[in-house]
Symmetry: C2
Subunit: 372 residues, 2 copies
């Protein structure tokens, strides 16, 4: 039987380059080991069992998820230690309770006294104990308590003293590392992330709250951190695929991008130096990319053709322009391109299957989980 | 049995307000009838059988799709007259041929001689005749032949004279109407769209190419056109739901938006006047909206609260800000909001089910088709 080739695939198709994926996963495992922290990878980027097993092998595998649907999916795949790293919606407490019963360790996240009160009330009424992380704001200003405020210590103490909620630790996400430009700037955010979290943990220790898990991590800071002293675990996720955004801010090299979208050329417009392809917003999402690094970032990068720009997208079509003369002869009607998306997490979520490739061969097909 | 209520739903959830949907569909049918054109609605916005049947009732139902997967889905649901309105990728000709065999009328689109040659070659080899529209550029400059150029007439003649390809007509999409601001500007684009297409049809007639179908339409121009003289059919799609973008450019009123995303409040941040909700880029996509009308458009509009702004989104979380003091008391932790997305087509595509609502009751659940 002849091996299936990339050229046999229908477009648009989501391709995962297996050797690059494995290298990215290996490098992050080494970084965590070198700096003495546990790796609890986020799996929201891909939502497949296969990649999660590569990221978190072994019986003690610990992962991070972004939805309860992911938690259920990975529990069914045998994962027994999961952190659901979004502030909990109190309406979802019964679902979360069931997940807590069904696995060895299921951690929740909160940053508001009302969420804590709702958990306590449910725990008391249903004889169940929840494992909880206090979400901390280390500068991203999206969610989390302010580690400078006395109310934050008060909430930690309330959790610590509860009979129905177990205080597992403190957790942050340095999402502001995405606004950086270059390794030095990212390393500075990693230092801030570490210092704020280690300092808050120290403050909690003085109040008798110890030992706790100190959980940090975004892909950029996980790549460029030089020390994780005082930190227990890191939770990067995007690093399995990386993407144009990560390459643009300096969190990876362009050659580290493991995910590409395969598209076909469906139009030539020499009068405006443009090519039309059959991948649009339903194949790439519409993340504008790292516009703070490159205002003309476009929606992705055509592999092997740095002069080309993925200028605009509508639902099913994308427009490619060129800074120099468009090489139409390299991309005839029906020809193919591989495009690194701006944001691999959002692009991946749009595809029913990932085609796993080595060189030009398709060696596997992985099916992601979706929904909530 | 108690009726299911919106408050019973898990978040994020995609809601379709049935009375508004029906009104939007009825209004567009009346517009088409009043101006004497056939309505061949685009179904890509929703991709459900239920809404397509409301848009295109009766045995002569004709619809427009954006993917071959949609074409197969609607064929299986009994639709027998479908236009696949994206320039054809030659790699997809065998699939398109099968669809042509399986239904009464399946129309394809092209704007390049190489696509025509590939269709002719396949038709000759497989004894099949394709029905084809020539895609025309009426000013959007995304795809289509230039109606001013002699090559465009030449390609039309080649199609017209082919034994394996039947020249069905000319088709355009005035996507530049999305860049308008207000009814007058949109009406002007509709006039341009009509004049260019009617003029091109007239030129073809002089060359003996007649009768042909003249197909136009975007939702904004379909709403505001005052005449479709010389036009056979219109293909709006977004009008079933409308969205914040359409309201912002003046293609509809905000009250016409039939689709909302239901989210739960998961965080309060009084120090920065912000609320965090459990709907992000995987519930809304990341369409920036009509920034030419409102540079601060955000990612959607919170119903009933015009002061609120959907400022930013990450994968599963969204940040709501307010121009005045945030009404935290109206949105307690675990409370709900309904948000009109910027771009309903892209948001809808992210949900496995649409909850159909009338007032606060959930009266049905519709499952969209996905993929390619």
């Amino acid at each position: 039987m002849q091996a299936k080739m990339i050229s046999d695939l229908k477009t648009p198709a989501f391709l995962v380059d297996l050797p690059i994926l494995q290298r990215n996963i290996g490098e992050m495992a080494k970084r965590a080991q070198r700096l003495g922290v546990r790796l609890r990878p986020h799996v929201k980027t891909h939502k497949t069992a296969e990649i999660a097993r590569l990221q978190a092998p072994g019986p003690d595998a610990a992962i991070t998820v972004s939805t309860l649907a992911e938690a259920r999916f990975y529990k069914d795949k045998g994962f027994q230690d999961i952190t659901y790293a979004c502030p909990l919606d109190p309406n979802k407490i019964p679902e979360a309770a069931q997940l807590g019963r069904d696995m060895r360790n299921f951690n929740l996240l909160l940053d508001h006294p009302d969420t804590f009160a709702a958990l306590e009330s449910y725990g008391r009424g249903n004889k169940i104990r929840f494992a909880v992380f206090l979400k901390v704001d280390c500068g991203y200003h999206r969610a989390g308590v302010d580690p400078e405020k006395s109310e934050s210590y008060l909430l930690a103490e309330q959790i610590h003293n509860s009979r129905y909620v177990e205080f597992r630790g403190i957790l942050t996400h340095a999402g502001h590392s995405y606004h950086c430009r270059g390794a030095e700037a990212i390393a500075a955010v990693a230092r801030q992330e570490r210092e704020i979290m280690a300092g808050f943990a120290e403050g909690l220790k003085k109040r008798g709250i110890e030992p706790i898990v100190v959980s940090v991590g975004s892909t950029p800071t996980a790549v460029h951190a030089r020390s994780w002293e005082g930190v227990s675990e890191i939770r990067p996720g995007n690093y399995v695929f990386f993407d144009k955004f990560m390459a643009d801010i300096g969190a990876c090299a362009f050659e580290d991008c493991a995910a590409t979208v395969l598209v076909s050329v469906v139009g030539h417009y020499p009068e405006r130096n443009q090519i039309l392809v059959d991948g649009g917003a339903l194949a790439f999402s519409k993340d504008p990319g790292a516009v703070h690094v490159d205002p003309e970032a476009g929606f992705g990068a055509v592999t092997g053709h740095p002069d080309l720009r993925f200028k605009s997208i509508s639902q099913e079509l994308g427009v490619i322009t060129s800074a120099s003369r468009m090489p139409f002869e390299s991309f005839p009607i029906g020809g193919r391109m591989r495009i690194v998306p701006n944001h691999s997490c959002l692009a991946a979520a749009l595809f029913p299957v990932y085609h796993v490739v080595e060189g030009s061969r398709v060696v596997d097909a992985w099916v992601p989980h979706r929904g909530w």
